[in-house]
């Protein structure tokens, strides 16, 4: 789509002690697009996200943000760049209201006093900008919201800070059908508003419903990053389970991996 990707990762390595979790991972994320990050459990998706958001330091490799090399050493660095993560378990406080949650840790103040009117206005504007209509009062406690509404608040919280890149970790995992549709619509709207979105998901239907590109991780390696329109459902499943599919993915030599392609093939056959 656009010439410079918003975020480009090159050759990212990450080990926890003797276990190499990410090896030579490359990823490009474009503004205005939803990039789906897929992979089986333990493929390294969460680790990759934590590296991008500054929670884990990387061992090797580089980050390019808007074409400029940057160093992300802490969550604060990531936030300064405009990277926001919406976690799987939401990270909202039940006993606080929507406005309080959206500004948690970054409250607007005048002097030492909290500036509630300004926060409430900004929160209302952000929700309106995302065409969120499911919330009746900004002053209701998060405990009274449904799962979908909570996810909406969590996403709106991420958008509030003029963020450029929003990473969503399994945003629909715990939601019902209608609520999933609602959240996916919101995800699409974020990208349409010009943000870069990375969506981690296990659900192929979700991935194909909203994403522009799909990046597949297999045992810590980025095996493919392709346009969603250029790939089929079955191919993605093969990439996730076997690391390759036809011309895509790893070369036939599986390298140093213990898991041979043989059993993986049979799994992908089963899925189909």
């Amino acid at each position: 789509m656009s010439a410079t990707p918003l975020l480009e990762l090159r050759g990212i390595d990450k080990s926890f002690g003797p276990v190499q979790v990410l090896r030579d991972v490359a990823l490009t994320v474009h503004p205005g697009e939803v990039t789906a990050l897929v992979g089986d459990n333990g493929a390294g998706k969460s680790t990759l996200v934590k590296c991008i958001s500054g929670i884990h330091p990387i061992d090797a490799g580089e980050f390019l943000f808007n074409g400029e090399p940057v160093h992300i050493g802490s969550p604060r660095d990531a936030a300064t760049l405009g990277i926001e993560v919406v976690y799987q378990d939401l990270a909202l406080c039940d006993n606080l209201d929507i406005v309080q949650n959206m500004f948690l840790g970054r409250e607007k103040r005048s002097g030492i006093v909290l500036d509630e009117p300004t926060m409430e206005q900004l929160a209302a504007e952000t929700l309106a900008g995302l065409s969120i209509r499911t919330v009746t009062s900004l002053r209701q406690h998060v405990s009274s919201l449904s799962g979908g509404q909570r996810q909406t608040v969590a996403i709106a919280k991420a958008v509030l800070w003029n963020s450029k890149l929003v990473i969503l970790d399994e945003p629909t995992a715990a939601l019902g059908v209608a609520q999933t549709a609602q959240v996916l619509e919101l995800v699409r709207r974020l990208a349409d508003n010009g943000l870069a979105v990375v969506l981690i998901s296990h659900n192929m239907n979700d991935v194909f419903a909203v994403s522009d590109r799909i990046a597949a991780l297999y045992l810590g390696q980025m095996v493919a990053q392709v346009k969603t329109t250029d790939i089929t459902h079955a191919q993605v499943v093969e990439l996730i389970t076997a690391g390759r599919s036809g011309g895509l993915g790893l070369a036939t030599d599986p390298g140093s991996n213990g898991d041979g392609p043989q059993p993986a093939d049979s799994i992908s056959g089963g899925v189909r």
Binding site: P75, N95, L104, G105, E120, A124, L127, L138
Partner: protein
């Protein structure tokens, strides 16, 4: 305005229109949904006062007894106010009672044994509280020992420290004029009225200013009638209390005159205002609620959780120090039992009866004052009815259990109605 636009898009039925009726309905539905707040404490206070007033009309309803309630309940209330901060995180401080004893013993030693002026002794006592709180907080937050165990150890150890400080069982008298005045002297009636006026005008100014800002910005706000009602309510309550306290309560006016607001009352009021301001209007207070509600979410929001945890123990022990100073002042002395026996349990009871949750994340400093009033009324009224200490303990225990079950049940109710 965008704000109103968002609201109008929602289902109209749920959006409360800014009317008095609507406000009352929202409040009722909140209560039905399990968010009872201070309602049980207020109702309990009314019931208890009515019962005691009927049983002992002459003694319970006298102006002298009304003044007694404040001085009797002051120390426990002050400790409970500090405990609210710890309870908000879902932690507990069992050592607060004897911490107040230690601080009182330090006060007595500095002022009586070493002969320093009263303010040095007060500073020393509060500094002792800060040190105790920091130590407890560090052990809980940095080492990771459950607060129950740390403060239980503190409970035992501080009991011993008090004994050591008062030299094995003797008591140290506190004769300093200023210190004795805190719990035993009254404000001049005119000063009482002046402070009341300041409080009401200040509250009105804050409320009206907030109302105006919100209206000007087009935000949903409480109807002006409700705001006026709140201000009027405060004026009536404070006015009545000060009027009664300003009545002559000396048995023989010729010998001495005894009237006016006890000095501890403005002390508690000022600390109540400060505590409420910190919790409701500063980001530090917001962070306390956040850590109490969901510690992981608070951490991810960039809040320094450990620092918050240590700081609430510091606040709790410092408030306990102030409670200890008041207790020493009331008794004119410090003995090995200062801050001991039922003080801690009454303080925890006061906070919980007032509506502070033992599960964390919910509570206000005002809860401690309301709950402290309930505890003081039980203690006082049952004493007047001639019940033994045994009965008083049992009744207070039952009331505490009742309050804790209201807390647990309303929490369950809120969970059931919350996730619709």
């Amino acid at each position: 305005m965008t704000t109103t636009a968002v609201r109008k898009d929602g289902p109209a039925a749920v959006t409360p229109p800014p009317t008095v009726g609507g406000h009352a309905r929202t409040y009722l539905s909140r209560v039905r949904g399990g968010d009872v707040g201070a309602l049980p404490a207020v109702l309990g206070l009314i019931v208890l006062c009515t019962v005691f007033a009927i049983m002992r009309p002459s003694s319970f309803l006298s102006a002298g007894n009304f003044a007694n309630l404040f001085t009797q309940g002051a120390a426990v209330t002050l400790i409970a106010m500090g405990l609210v901060f710890v309870l908000l995180l879902g932690e507990i401080d069992l050592s607060a009672g004897f911490a107040s004893g230690v601080c009182a013993a330090v006060l007595a030693n500095v002022v009586t044994v070493l002969g320093y002026p009263w303010w040095v002794a007060v500073l020393a006592a509060i500094a002792t509280g800060v040190v105790i709180g920091t130590t407890l907080g560090m052990l809980v937050a940095k080492i990771g020992i459950p607060s129950f165990v740390v403060t239980l150890a503190g409970f035992l150890a501080f009991q011993g420290v008090v004994l050591l400080l008062v030299k094995e069982g003797t008591n140290i008298s506190v004769r300093d004029e200023v210190l004795v005045a805190i719990a035993n002297r009254n404000l001049a009636p005119t000063v009482g009225w002046a402070l009341t006026a300041v409080a009401v005008v200040g509250y009105a100014a804050v409320q009206l200013l907030r109302h105006r800002t919100r209206v000007a910005r087009g935000l949903i706000t409480d109807p002006i009638a409700v705001v006026a009602l709140r201000i009027g309510g405060l004026a009536v309550i404070l006015g009545t209390a000060v009027y009664v306290l300003n009545l002559e309560r000396s048995r023989n006016v010729l010998i001495s005159s005894l009237k006016g607001v006890p000095i501890v009352v403005p002390v508690i009021a000022v600390l109540l205002v400060i505590g409420t301001f910190v919790l409701q209007r500063t980001s530090y207070g917001r962070h306390i609620y956040a850590v109490g509600g969901n510690r992981e979410a608070a951490r991810r929001a960039g809040i320094e959780v450990d620092r918050i945890r240590i700081s609430v123990f510091m606040i709790c022990s410092s408030m306990a120090a102030i409670g200890g100073i008041v207790a020493a002042s009331r008794a004119n002395s410090v003995d090995p039992n200062t801050g001991g026996s039922n003080v801690l349990l009454y303080a925890v009871g006061a906070a919980v009866i007032g509506g502070t949750s033992l599960f964390g994340g919910k509570g206000r400093v005002l809860d401690a004052v309301l709950g402290g009033a309930v505890v003081a009324v039980i203690e006082n009224g049952m004493g007047l009815m001639g019940y033994s200490a045994g009965v008083k303990y049992v009744v207070t225990g039952v009331v505490l259990l009742l309050a804790a079950s209201v807390d647990a049940l309303s929490r369950r109710r809120a969970a059931a109605t919350g996730t619709r």
